[in-house]
Symmetry: C2
Subunit: 119 residues, 2 copies
């Protein structure tokens, strides 16, 4: 069946969450949002493209930072309301310069920072 971005289920703002996962290591890097056009652009260009809710604009990941996400494979879930992008991530995915945005763990009731910014 041909994939049509408009067949996904978007929220009231026209957005769908997309998890970015490192294709090689399986590390979950980040979660951001796409609209139907961002999904289409991601597939057309192979460059993972989100919709920035704060800037209300397309966000071609790495366009200014150089920390590009190349799409390896896009997957959708059973409810068609969440995406999983397997990516080749150049450098850090996080704006704090860490590889992953999920660098804080809850351990014994405390927040613990478990990874440091990349050199």
């Amino acid at each position: 069946m041909a994939f049509d971005p408009s067949s996904l289920k978007y929220d009231a703002a026209g957005l769908i969450p997309c998890i970015a996962q490192d294709h090689a290591t399986g590390e979950v890097l980040m979660l951001a949002w796409m609209n139907a056009d961002a999904v289409a652009r991601t597939l057309e260009t192979g460059r993972v493209t989100y919709w920035s809710r704060s800037r209300a604009a397309f966000w071609i990941k790495g366009e200014t930072s150089g920390h590009v996400q190349r799409l390896v494979e896009l997957r959708l879930d059973c409810d068609r309301d969440c995406l999983l992008a397997l990516v080749n991530q150049t450098g850090p995915a996080c704006h704090t310069n860490r590889r992953s945005c999920f660098y804080t763990a809850v351990r014994e009731g405390d927040e613990v920072v478990i990874s440091q910014p990349m050199a």
Copy 2:
């Protein structure tokens, strides 16, 4: 710093997305939603507990199906608006009886089912 579920950023409905990842294999299993009480219950009980948007009720994963998610570690992202739960998943995470909800890939413009229900 002590972790306080109310310190997370919830959406207008009081919810935050939570990615469940297999602790052992790194496979991304599903994404569902939690409210602050569900976050607290997950940490207190070690049983991953979502908020079901369709039922408007707590959803203790596996309570009826037996496909329990035991929490190994809860992580939060840099913006505090997304959670990552590392879990021990008993059986399938997906209601289709597949291990992961992300069993459909987009390949050369087509939707391709890449995993089958568990026996």
